[in-house]
């Protein structure tokens, strides 16, 4: 049977593994290099928390 090659639109690839189809019960036991890389990535990412705080001006109150 012929199969069509999957066409992937060009875009941004994240180091974040997609766990959308992985049940929690499975996730607890999973181990692989890809998972460990992704775990390391998100833990490292928590070093940089971007907080946005701007006081825009507005109308008078009261």
């Amino acid at each position: 049977m012929d199969s069509f090659p999957m066409v992937i639109e060009p875009g941004v690839d994240s180091p974040l593994v997609d766990l959308g189809a992985v049940p929690l019960a499975v996730l607890r036991e999973l181990d692989s290099a890809a998972l460990r890389r992704s775990l390391g990535h998100v833990v490292e990412q928590t070093r940089y928390v971007l907080v946005s705080s701007e006081s825009s001006t507005t109308r008078r109150i009261g």
Binding site: L19, T46, S52, E54, S56, T57, T58
Partner: protein, 610 residues
């Protein structure tokens, strides 16, 4: 360890965003579809952090303190997923699941204690699982951390329990349709609708507002300890009157967002979950968000619906960009605070600037659309804000575009914003409002310069010596740039002139004349300037400088008043490089007993800098 080709170890796909969607987001679009992609990535991110946290605590049982290990919480979440996957998704999507797991991960990684003992933060996983199980209608028992007598069930509410200690443990017991939180001294039964209050129970209020086919449903969360920016915070309960005010304002604001920016409204329905109310701040609309709490905006009680609508758009832009930045780095880490922006009084690092550009791009879009809707009294206010923010955002975006710290994706984002924002620069706005917007922008920029830039000492010495020698002018001095600001401001700042102009534009000259004494830091000279009495303003600022020769707001006010009366070198110098004029003035005062005339010195420097 095998990774591919062994079926016991799945090959994971990674989250990705097609450039077409990236570009839609960059242009301020993308609707709900792109937000859903960001949400799916956030879900995976939070699951990974949760897994890492449970792994870590399981290896170090002491981290659980008096609570059980996180394993039973994970098992409870497994049951929730089996019974009701949507509930698990809701709990993972809850903004403060993200901020809690991020915060606790940092504590564990750095081996430090946070606001509470580590077991309280780690133990929040039990609260998360318990809230999920209650939502799913599962029978279960669990133990929860209690902080200052409050046992939090995220997304639901907080049980108040008497406790002799700042941190303790409570039990939760649930059967379908009924849940009780208790300790040795009291028991609190959750109301049938946990969003309502009951004896010992504070429910998280829900706000649901509709406009046409668009429904926005958010929690008004004044309870969750992880709703803040940096550290856990205690509950700050709104009274019912304020909660009703929020409901009313949100209804009106939502109508404006839906009518003005339908695409963003669609996206907001999919991506905004929670508002954290804060007390009102007169003449300001403070708001904030953090990248870890995707879906949450911290907003001070707004003055009116347009303010809230603009702020919702503003914060939602931050939320979307925060989600995107978890997928793709947009800049290389660089914490140096080196940029001017028109929306902050202090120099900003590249990350904050990029966030601000995207947020104020949205704000500009909102006011532009509102100005085009011809709403009578709102027309002039909207047109003024549009003129101001299109200019301020464009100014910063142009500087940002060429910065070496941007990644390829970051530059693509900036290009996408620029493609839209550029087209707005020439759109017609009434000339007097353009002048007002330019005045507010010039005021802010000069105020930033005079406080954060330190002039080159040899240049100041050259100017001082030339002035004291009585030379008619100097050989050409190059205009100083605004690079390399210092982090410490040289003097206080006042936003009074901008507040006065906004008041006049949004309401009337009469309203301004009645209210100006109550505006923080406003002086008679500021009032004269905002009223268009520029000569009187000049005189007033001269007096202010005679009384306090270092006052940044008086130097800049003098520059504005002079520039409004003509295009002479003094006004130009005081708005383009006020730090140089003030530094020379200071040095001359230090050398000679008599202070030079500020206008004379500014004029002389203005004729020398070319």
């Amino acid at each position: 360890m095998p990774d591919q080709g062994d079926l016991s170890f799945p090959v994971f796909a990674v989250h990705r965003l097609a450039w077409a969607d990236f570009d839609r987001l960059a242009r301020g679009g993308g609707g709900a579809a792109v937000v859903e992609q960001l949400r799916r990535a956030e879900r995976s991110r939070r699951l990974l952090l949760l897994r890492a946290l449970v792994d870590e605590v399981t290896k170090n049982p002491g981290l659980s303190g008096p609570l059980p290990s996180p394993e039973p919480a994970w098992e409870l979440l497994v049951r929730v997923e089996e019974k009701s996957p949507a509930v698990l998704d809701l709990m993972l999507a809850h903004p403060y699941t993200g901020s809690w797991v991020g915060y606790t991960t940092r504590l564990l990684r750095d081996g430090i204690t946070g606001v509470c003992p580590i077991w309280v933060h780690v133990g929040h996983v039990h609260a998360l699982a318990a809230a999920a199980a209650i939502r799913a209608g599962l029978p279960f028992q669990a133990e929860l951390p209690v902080w200052q007598g409050g046992a939090m069930l995220p997304t639901l509410g907080l049980a108040r329990l008497p406790s002799g200690s700042p941190w303790s443990v409570a039990w939760v017991h649930a059967v379908p349709g009924e849940a009780t939180v208790s300790n040795a001294m009291a028991a609190v039964r959750l109301p049938r609708d946990p969003a309502s209050d009951g004896p010992g129970w504070l429910g998280i209020r829900r706000l649901t507002v509709r406009s046409g086919s668009r429904t926005l449903a958010v929690r008004l969360d004044d309870l969750d300890p992880y709703r803040g920016l940096y550290e856990p915070v205690p509950p700050q309960r709104l009274d019912d009157h304020d909660a009703d005010s929020w409901r009313l304002l949100l209804r009106r604001a939502w109508r404006l967002v839906v009518h003005c920016l339908p695409d963003i409204a669609e996206a907001m329905c999919a991506g905004l979950d929670s508002l954290v109310p804060q007390p009102a701040a007169p003449f300001r609309q403070p708001s904030a968000s953090t990248g870890e709490a995707f879906g949450s905006a911290i907003i001070a009680m707004p003055a009116d619906a347009p303010s809230l609508a603009a702020t919702l758009v503003h914060e939602f832009q931050h939320i979307r960009l925060g989600g995107l930045m978890h997928l793709a780095p947009l800049y290389r880490e660089d914490d140096r605070e080196r940029f001017y922006t028109g929306w902050r009084d202090d120099p900003r690092p590249i990350g904050g600037v990029l966030q601000g550009v995207y947020a104020f791009f949205g704000v500009t879009a909102f006011w532009r659309a509102l100005a085009a809707r011809s709403l009578g009294s709102l027309d002039r206010r909207a047109a003024f804000e549009f003129a101001l923010w299109r200019g301020e955002t464009w100014r910063t975006l142009r500087v940002l575009h060429d910065d070496a710290a941007l990644t390829q994706a970051g530059r693509r984002l900036v290009d996408g914003i620029a493609g839209v924002l550029d087209q707005w620069q020439g759109e017609p706005v009434p000339a007097d409002l353009v002048r007002d917007a330019e005045s507010v922008a010039a005021d802010h920029y000069a105020g930033w310069r005079i406080r954060f830039l330190r002039p080159d000492p040899p240049t100041v010495a050259t100017i001082t010596n030339g002035w004291l020698a009585g030379r008619p002018r100097l050989d050409a001095i190059s205009p100083p740039t605004d690079r390399d600001p210092t982090p410490v401001p040289d003097g206080p700042w006042s936003r009074a002139r901008a507040d006065l102009i906004r008041l006049r534009v949004a309401e009337s000259s009469t309203a301004m004349s009645e209210a100006w004494p109550s505006i923080p830091d406003a002086t008679a000279a500021d009032y004269a300037y905002a009223s268009g009495r520029f000569a009187q303003a000049e005189l007033g600022y001269r007096r202010e400088l005679a009384a306090g020769a270092d006052l940044p707001a008086a130097w800049v006010g003098l520059g504005l008043a002079l520039a409004a009366q003509g295009t002479g070198p003094a006004g130009r110098a005081l708005l383009a490089y006020p730090e140089l004029v003030r530094a020379a003035h200071r040095r001359i005062r230090a050398i000679t007993p008599r202070a030079p005339d500020p206008v004379g010195l500014a004029d002389w420097i203005g004729r020398s800098v070319r």
